[in-house]
Symmetry: C2
Subunit: 355 residues, 2 copies
């Protein structure tokens, strides 16, 4: 193991040329004579030469690496049991980013904050020269910290990372999604009274979804009591507990519980069931995200679909444009779409999507 890798010097010597020539062969410079290139290529093959990307990155000032920063789950309470509960959404984004980056020849450097680095900015600072640009999820950076990093390296914020003049943002159309959800609930199911299961309160997406819900209910003459806004943390486990507490203190339930994401809807439905309440008969429950498993739940979850992988890909595109100094909108909003299934009260072939 750990056998010494050959360098261009070894290749040059074996091929009887200079290192500059080897470098040119590596980089497909057209000014190489075919016979020379062949000589070099043969030597590379014989030595099983692989260029050192780190060295290349140093001298060219470009690493072909995109950094992706995200948060560890803050909830470590029940370690083994809840691991990764709230994470599916972020994970799908990571995949989308990775795939798109790969398509453009970039690798992804993962960097998480949370547990070890409560400030978040330290690892970003340290790695910032290893990377050609950053995609930052969650609340890794405070708004005030963004400029310090973005001064040296372009940043795209997404998935709850908030807004900043010093960075680009890719977000989902929370407003449109919630609006069409509410209009469906009102028009198709006559919903009047709404509840809201909240994600982490500071989260920009949570804030936007709650505000959108307030606006939409007002517009439709519906009602959203403060008592029916249930504080939670994006996780199923948390939602289960919080729903129980909510049921303990409320006798009079709203018509619908709009959850800020799918995981919490799962937990809420579960808790309601444990109290003998059937969804959607006794209360409708909706989600947000449309995680893959949403359609297999019982009842199949009515939710607002966003394509996390498309968002991840879009973030890469924005970042690459920024890196190339091409003009890009400061904020990109990705479409969301109502995905009607059964948990809102719609009926259909079991397992079929209604619309």
């Amino acid at each position: 193991m750990a056998e010494q890798a050959p360098t261009i010097y070894d290749v040059a010597e074996r091929a009887g040329v200079s290192v500059a020539t080897v470098s040119r062969a590596l980089n497909d410079v057209e000014s190489l004579r075919a016979v020379t290139r062949d000589k070099v290529m043969r030597a590379m093959a014989e030595l099983d030469f692989v260029p050192n990307n780190v060295a290349r990155g140093l001298s060219r000032g470009k690493n072909w690496v995109i950094g992706l920063a995200f948060m560890h789950s803050p909830v470590k309470a029940n370690e083994a049991e809840v691991e990764a509960d709230s994470l599916l959404y972020t994970d799908i984004i990571i995949r989308g980013v990775e795939a798109q980056a790969a398509r453009h020849g970039y690798s992804l450097l993962l960097c998480s904050a949370g547990e070890e680095h409560p400030d978040g900015i330290a690892p970003l600072r340290n790695l910032t020269q290893s990377v050609d640009g950053w995609i930052v999820l969650d609340r890794v950076l405070n708004v005030e910290e963004v400029p310090e990093i973005s001064r040296r390296t372009p940043i795209v914020l997404m998935a709850g990372a908030g807004d900043s003049d010093a960075a680009f943002t890719v977000r989902v159309d929370n407003e449109g999604g919630i609006a069409s959800l509410v209009s469906h609930l009102v028009e198709a199911h006559g919903a009047r009274r709404f509840g809201y299961m909240s994600g982490l309160e500071e989260s920009p997406d949570n804030v936007a979804r709650l505000r959108a819900l307030r606006d939409a209910t007002r517009r439709w003459g519906g009602q959203l009591n403060e008592e029916d806004i249930v504080s939670c943390d994006w996780t199923s486990g948390g939602a289960e507990v919080q729903t129980m507490r909510w049921l303990d203190r409320r006798v009079d339930l709203p018509d619908v519980l709009v959850c800020a994401n799918d995981q919490m809807a799962v937990g809420a439905i579960h808790a309601l069931g444990a109290r003998g309440l059937k969804v959607p008969r006794d209360i409708a429950v909706t989600g947000f995200d449309d995680i893959p498993i949403a359609r297999y739940l019982t009842p199949a979850l009515t939710t607002v679909r966003q394509s996390s992988s498309a968002m991840g890909a879009e973030a890469v595109d924005v970042l690459l444009a920024a890196m190339a100094n091409e003009p890009v909108a400061n904020t990109t909003t990705m479409a969301s779409r109502l995905q009607i299934r059964h948990s809102c009260g719609c009926q259909g072939e079991l397992g079929e999507d209604v619309a």
Copy 2:
């Protein structure tokens, strides 16, 4: 944006010392006089200096980066709909790896194979000098390809990556998990006839689980017909379709359908429901992995739990030991544990785990 970052030369000049001294200050060499160190530190702070890790990696031959290679989902059929369906398990491993790597000061370089690089080995080859070691999931490398990479960089294989003398392997105890599952099904529920929903057939984990099931049923005098081994691909969507086909051709169902992972159990239960078959009343269904949502399904899924994040962490530990030339077992087997819920036929408080 893209403002030029200061280097140690800038710092040295400002502090009125040599670059060697700056480097020593950076690396906490004890032979620096306090007054000199302070001078340097002040200059670094004033310039907002951040060391360039790429350069550091080049000269020290150590990048503090662990590479993680995995496969894209092979199923891209229904693009938007099935995205990431089969992926939760891998994602949790990635998180586990990342967290443990971070704990030891390493970053993670993500590298996926599949779509763009059907061979898998090409990106690994290219990045191999950017990385201090590899963790390889799935079938990114064929067994024959492993030595070519591991000659230069240590490799840990896991999550279905197979075995190789030229690498270390971290695997889950498929045998023990399946054995305890079968013994529970036989002893508590009198199961005699078993079916198996297979993951991708070449996958080592799938092979091991099927073999373990064959062994266990034989040991208990049970029965596993070839006709009841349903070929599938690890995904819910695939399982739904394959279960339908299976139901079309079999009149006489076994007592249990043992699924090679949880996602497929979800799809199978869904398909059974669509045909009017109730789980566990008409047939029991079990999973493998214990993904976070398993306990919220209806019925709550009886499954074999493995801690994917612990496996990821273990892989990092093995890799670090290998990198340090410490002695490590060639294969590490992680415990699995039967998680009894309701889909096997056990009853309990709704939502409570039975045992």
